[in-house]
Amino acid sequence: MKFVDEFREPELVTRTAEEIRRLADPKRHYRLMEVCGGHTHAIYRFGLKDLLPENIELIHGPGCPVCVLPMGRIDDGLSLAEDPNVIFAAFGDMMRVPGAKGSPLEHKARGMDVRIVYSPSDALKLARANPDRHVMFFAIGFETTAPSTALTMMRAKAEGMRNFSVFCNHVTIIPAIRAILDSPDMRLDAFIGPGHVSTVIGCRPYEWIVKDERKPIVVSGFEPLDMLQSIVMLLRQLRDGEAKVENQYKRVVPWEGNRAALRAMAEVFQLRPYFEWRGLGFISQSALRVRDEYAEWDAERRFSVPGVRVTDPKAAQCGEVLKGVLKPHQCKLFGRECTPEHPIGALMVSSEGSCAAYYNYEHRKAAMVNILSQTA
């Protein structure tokens, strides 16, 4: 696969891993946070931790939009779809997220019309194909996904489609990073910056991290070579006492971002004064709501939303794990009441959630000794 396979080339991966070993100061313990869930997923999928020296610790950040969505929002969305006239459409990732009365998939088993879509425009297509039903698209995602939802809503408006609305749970990445840095229990050396969010917002929005917090950030791609190269770049900055924003993912991320995408977002969305994030609490100006001009396509205004606030079970420590304060296995419920088969929190549901990744990777490998020497 072009632009994929080259960045997985084994010989280069090995060489870059060696460079990391050369650069890593044995007297230092490095704490690098990868913000974005896709990076968390890549780390586990490619077994990148196996290639890093012991003194480099990767901390998983809160960049998993499924993981940070409070349970109450899922319940709200599902309650809107209880009307038999409504079709509940969402990405596959949402299907198993537990709400108080069950996940979307469980609701489907009980007779609700729940459909998986792979694009917001699929949801709009569903609405066109079912003129006598109402399609409600449960939108989630950071700035990577919000422009696509926005453009779809602009099209719905242009076509005068009445039977389509969006339940908007889009969130923004910068406030999440701020919340991490503001957290007193957090000690971080540098950031592996979100790759795909940056195709939309560009690299400028991260400048305050290097100026105010003096922490390096490298915007990174998702293939093994991308992530390893980003770590090389971070180690060099740390070695030289520098703090700057660098773009490792140049082939895809424009420094200035995507103007057309930002325009679409600005046209349809505005910032909510505050929004509740699972684990991080209420954060101001951190999420998007639909502008008045698009009220007709805002599910929260077309329908009355219960506004359910559901707290996570007290014992679940999703928040601390999300912030990187606790490792997944340090949560009291991990591996016991909370497993991929019976998830309590979304971090165990989503493949980008650190708990699910940790469970399937670290947890079971902890029992193994010298695996790699056996398979070499």
């Binding site: 586990y44 290639l51 699929d122």
Partner: protein
């Protein structure tokens, strides 16, 4: 219900409910077919229901799946299918051309696979039930000589073989549903694997420990079941697993793992190391076995689990399928 998906939930249903109540006090590990004795004559028997949406798809249809699926279950249990009986559950109002097409497809598939269809039954249910048509086939076969398949005979160092590229069937079905805006040149791999199994048995019979056809839940699920049944670990080498480009592309686009996708014309085999070369050569030389590969080996660790390694030393655990990514595929 995720219980039909082939993964953890299915297994719990079978082990937790069916086995204790229906299968008596047997402590044998559950296999694809049962080897029993009828009047002193050893006989293998299996049954399977086929539920597919859409009924027809590139590379085949429900009728073919119903024949090949049962022939294959017998083959990987070490038996040659001789006779099938079939039961149809039809939705009222099903156009007769559709039924006829499937019956023809079954007759063709049976002829190709060298089995007889001896008897059948039909029931009609209300419109709206049965997704047009459900087919159940029960197959009887004669156990092959010279082999003894048992997951408990698997040892560290044994090799894991795969007969060909994975994911073709599941992805074909997904695309054939037309709900996705994806097009690819893919066909279901449905076929009888009996000739390949026979070639394998001839070349490596004494060293053959275990076989399975990775249908629902894919290779990952079948190998996780083996790991559990033998208490050892399985190490898979990702780059050795054959996957067609189009399957890779569709999986990347949809975020699926080919190791979890259903196959209808492939099988896995575990072979003692001294027989591995003869085994893979025999498969590669047999028609339809050109793409067979040794994809991994049995290891002490991770006991009870499956580890997938990448070409640069990274690795991850892969679980059996949890949930149901592709409903109604076989």
């Amino acid at each position: 219900m995720a219980h039909g998906a082939g993964g953890k939930a299915s297994r719990r249903l079978v082990e937790g409910l069916f086995a204790p109540l229906l299968f008596g006090a047997s402590t044998e590990p559950l296999g694809d077919a049962a080897h029993v004795s009828v009047g002193g004559v050893p006989v293998a028997i299996t049954t399977d229901a086929f539920v597919v949406k859409p009924l027809r798809f590139p590379g085949g249809s429900i009728g073919e799946l119903a024949v090949n699926g049962t022939v294959n279950d017998l083959a990987v249990s070490g038996a040659k299918a001789e006779t099938l009986v079939v039961s149809y559950v039809l939705e009222a109002g099903l156009p007769s051309e559709i039924l006829e097409a499937e019956v023809r497809a079954m007759a063709d598939a049976a002829r190709k696979a060298g089995v007889q269809i001896a008897a059948g039954d039909t029931k009609v249910v209300e419109h709206g039930k049965a997704d047009s048509m459900y087919i159940t086939t029960t197959g009887i076969g004669s156990p092959m000589r010279g082999i003894k398949l048992d997951p408990r005979s698997v040892r560290t160092g044994d090799r894991v073989l795969l007969s060909g590229p994975i994911g073709d069937h599941g992805i074909t079905i997904l695309l054939a549903r037309g709900e996705l805006d994806l097009e690819a040149d893919l066909r279901s791999d449905t076929r009888s694997v009996l000739p390949l199994v026979q070639a394998l048995v001839r070349a490596a019979g004494p060293g053959l420990r275990w076989m399975r056809d990775p249908t629902r839940g894919g290779v990952a699920t079948s190998l996780n079941e083996l790991a559990r049944d033998c208490g050892l670990g399985i190490t898979l080498h990702e780059e050795a697993v054959p996957v067609r480009d189009a399957v890779r592309g569709a999986c990347e686009l949809l975020g699926l793992d080919p190791l979890h996708i259903a196959n209808e014309g492939q099988f896995l085999a575990v072979v003692a190391p001294e027989y591995a070369d003869a085994a893979i050569n025999a498969l590669n030389l047999a028609p339809g076995g050109e793409d067979a590969q040794i994809i991994g080996e049995v290891s002490e660790q991770p006991a009870g689990s499956v580890l997938v390694t990448t070409s640069y030393g990274g690795s991850r655990i892969i679980d059996m399928l949890v949930g149901d990514p592709l409903p109604r595929i076989c």
